[in-house]
């Protein structure tokens, strides 16, 4: 980031009023228009060689996730093993980008993933609600990093955001970023609770201004999770942010993406909104669990010419 851009950023953070003015000065979003654009991009026809290429890229972008109260070390070990070798029958199948678990499960996953190149992400900051004192959130974050997580998926305080207290949200992100240390910080906006596209754009910029390495749509724990128009809007935000401040931020839609067809629609969206620079697991992730098996099924179909039943793909 250039020196002037940085000073402008810190200036914004110093004054809640300036921050508010800045966020409310961002161009509005027309609901009908953005939904139509996302739907139009969804009609791209991706076949044969492009499809094979897209499936492998999508597999490499998966944050294989389990975030259940019922998670056990055994379940997490199985998931981590699958992350390393998604298709045991086919060594050419690439590993996924990361495994994503609760902080308590981080050491278990770390033991399997160590040295593999597959990242270990942990949700933190009182996921999924974010309704906890800052100290608790920071301790949560530090624990996860200490346990071996190199990526932290934090949630913003939607309550503070909707109350208009942008400075509080900003300061929390800055504090979590500091607590996360070297770990990559993904900031979950929980777009389903922000309700309007204008809010999603503001929250995206707010998170990026505060230092997010990634912006992520959802926890997967509310009624509305990642949608194509919301992801499109966030892709526009990271594109515009880099143009303005020179820093690249990644995007992670999460929740509700289950099929190869859907995943490819997202790749098309990146391709035609941000271009090649974001077509990499370093800059785009799918937060998903069941998506991986559908990708594997389609991948096998392309290589063998026929569909294999679900029992040919591993659980978890």
């Amino acid at each position: 980031m250039t020196a002037t851009a940085t000073s402008r950023l810190s200036h914004l953070a110093d004054s809640p009023a300036d921050l508010r003015t800045f966020l409310h000065g961002l161009p509005g979003v027309d609901k009908v228009g953005i939904e139509a654009r996302a739907a139009a991009l969804g009609t791209r026809s991706v076949k044969t060689t492009s499809k094979a290429q897209a499936i492998d890229l999508a597999i490499r972008m998966v944050d294989l996730t389990t975030l259940e109260g019922a998670d056990t070390p055994g379940k997490v070990r199985a998931l981590s093993a699958k992350a390393l070798r998604p298709d045991p029958a086919d060594p050419t199948c690439p590993p996924v980008a990361a495994v994503c678990v609760y902080p308590a499960m981080v050491p278990t996953a770390a033991a399997v993933l160590a040295g593999s190149g597959v990242h270990l992400a942990s949700v933190a900051t009182a996921f999924p609600s974010g309704q906890a004192p800052l100290e608790v959130k920071l301790a949560d974050t530090r624990d996860a990093v200490a346990g071996g997580a190199d990526e932290i998926d934090m949630v913003i305080s939607r309550g503070a955001f909707l109350a208009g207290d942008y400075a509080k949200v900003f300061d929390e992100i800055v504090a979590v970023k500091e607590a996360a240390g070297p770990a990559h910080l993904k900031v979950i906006l929980e777009t389903g609770e922000l309700a309007t596209y204008d809010n999603v754009r503001r929250a995206s910029w707010l998170a990026m201004l505060a230092g997010a390495d990634f912006i992520k749509t959802s926890t997967g724990k509310v009624g509305v999770n990642a949608t194509p128009p919301v992801t499109l809007l966030m892709l526009e935000a990271v594109r515009d942010f880099r143009e303005r401040y020179g820093r690249q931020v990644g995007v992670k839609p999460a929740g509700g993406i289950r099929t190869t067809k859907d995943a490819i629609k997202y790749l098309v969206m990146i391709n035609e909104t941000c271009g090649d620079d974001w077509l990499s697991p370093d800059w785009f992730r799918f937060g998903a669990s069941s998506l991986l098996n559908d990708l594997l099924m389609q991948r096998t179909k392309l290589t063998t010419g026929h569909y294999a039943g679900p029992d040919y793909f591993t659980l978890d």
Binding site: G28, G33, L57
Partner: protein
């Protein structure tokens, strides 16, 4: 080499079986004519079929057939006529893929548009007017509105089947019979529609299709036994028709050219405005009479908006109309390509700055890269004349009043667009624009329930909606 390219995804053309030649559809039968002409695929200049060239005596036969059919057709209860129209609409839906491929072959438009825009609108139009057929008494046109008789209809090549639907659906719903002449370069979908009429058991003579060039059209509109003339096409031809029809007592509607202003205010939703600009001028290769061919952008956001527009234009895919990922297809004819090339040349000569994204155009066929001209003023020819191609002229303004003044400073008045997040501004500006259709935060949206038509040299009369009935009733 891009990281993620789309492999070719061509829609199969095997669903369309083309005969080597087609006759005229008169009185429910295909009949021969003396002359013929060829219709080609503008994407590769391959001949698709030979089509009959209707001579005056052929048009006489068609009008006579329509006259004979009128007596019983107009006497049918509206609910009976509606049944035929519903049937036609359903058949068109069933055969939508065939018609979409055919339309893309003959016209050059991308399959995604013929499939997702043209065909759904065509069916919707027939469904909509089918609903009116038994409710004409309640259309606000008097207690017992009567059909006019035989309608002579001449349609253009930019939306061949959709323009046919706009003409035929209201005419039949109101009890008129029809002689329709499709455009010389795009006759095929109308001839396939004739087959739909037979499939629907439409009584012979209710719909007649005569193919040919300008002379056939002129003979049809000047025919003494035609009661109603409906024309969509160029302002120049529209003027000739108005002259020839004057004083004859024929009812006339004209839907002519346009040079629509697409006005972007500084508080517009930028990304959606860019989409709207692209859709406004590059939809259907810009072969749209209501295309947003003049972009009026507030000077304070002109430079970021143009950057965003150029970035977006760089993702447009020009090429094979039958490829499902094609955004911009072929220019419809050599003659049209020459006109676009000439006017774009004039733009450069007059000092406007020309830009196109890098794109490879096929060797054969008629192609023109999407183009924008910046630094255009009201004095430039490309700001005044209809180009009817993928060429956008960009002008700037400072205040809303100046935007309105510039938008209205054209002999045309078919459509306009306004982009702003402020509802009050949209209403205030829309109120002052002299255009038949004003779109707010969208562009090129069509619906059978919405009347469409122009001010000034863009023509008169309305098509679509309840208003569209008026043109066919007395």
């Amino acid at each position: 080499m891009p990281l993620f390219d789309y492999a070719p995804a061509p829609e199969s053309r095997s669903i369309v079986s083309l005969a080597p030649s087609y006759g005229l559809f008169i009185d429910g039968e295909f009949t021969e004519a003396k002359g013929t002409f060829k219709t080609i695929n503008p994407a590769d200049e391959e001949v698709l079929a030979e089509v009959a060239l209707a001579a005056p005596e052929d048009v006489d036969r068609a009008v006579a057939a329509a006259r004979r059919a009128f007596e019983s057709w107009s006497a049918l209860p509206g609910s009976e006529r509606a049944k035929y129209l519903f049937r036609i609409a359903r058949i068109l839906q069933e055969r939508a893929r065939e018609f979409a491929v055919l339309e893309s072959l003959d016209n050059g438009k991308p399959i995604k548009e013929s499939r997702d825009v043209d065909l759904p609108l065509v069916a919707a139009h027939f469904f909509y007017y089918a609903g009116w057929a038994d409710k004409l008494k309640y259309a606000g046109l008097g207690p017992d509105p009567r059909p006019l008789g035989v309608a002579g209809q001449v349609i253009p090549w930019n939306f061949p089947l959709l323009m046919l639907a706009w003409k035929i659906a209201p005419a039949l719903a109101t009890g008129n019979t029809v002689v329709l002449k499709p455009a010389e370069t795009t006759p095929l979908s109308a001839l396939f529609f004739a087959d739909v009429c037979r499939q629907a058991d439409l009584p012979p003579g209710v719909v007649n299709i005569v193919t040919g060039a300008g002379d056939t059209g002129r003979y049809l509109v000047e025919h003494p036994d035609v009661n109603k003339v409906a024309f969509t096409g160029s302002t120049e031809v529209g003027r000739q028709i108005a002259r020839s029809v004057a004083g004859t007592g024929k009812k006339l509607t004209l839907e002519l050219g346009g040079k629509a202003a697409n006005i972007v205010f500084d508080d517009a939703p930028i990304d959606q405005a860019v989409e709207g600009i692209v859709n406004g001028i590059f939809f259907n290769q810009g072969h749209v009479c209501c295309a947003g061919s003049r972009l009026l952008v507030q000077e304070s956001i002109a430079s970021p908006l143009l950057e965003a527009l150029k970035r977006r234009m760089s993702t447009l895919r020009v090429g094979d109309p039958l490829d499902k990922n094609t955004d911009i297809g072929a220019i419809n004819s050599k003659a049209q390509l020459d006109r676009i090339t000439e006017l774009a040349g004039v733009g450069s000569d007059e000092g406007a700055e020309r830009w196109s994204p890098p794109c490879e155009l096929p060797d054969r066929g008629f192609w023109f890269a999407p183009t924008i001209f910046t630094g255009v003023t009201q004095a430039h020819r490309i700001a005044r004349e209809e180009i009817f191609g993928p060429v956008l002229s960009v002008l700037t303004f400072r205040t809303p009043a100046e935007a309105v003044e510039k938008a209205n400073n054209t002999p045309y008045g078919l459509s306009a667009g306004i982009w702003s997040d402020k509802g009050s501004r949209i209403l205030a500006v829309a109120d002052q624009l002299r255009a038949g259709v004003v779109w707010a935060n969208t562009f090129n949206k069509f619906d059978p329930t919405s009347p469409f038509g122009g001010y000034k040299e863009s023509g008169y009369g309305r098509e679509g909606g309840r208003h569209g009935l008026e043109a066919y009733l007395a």
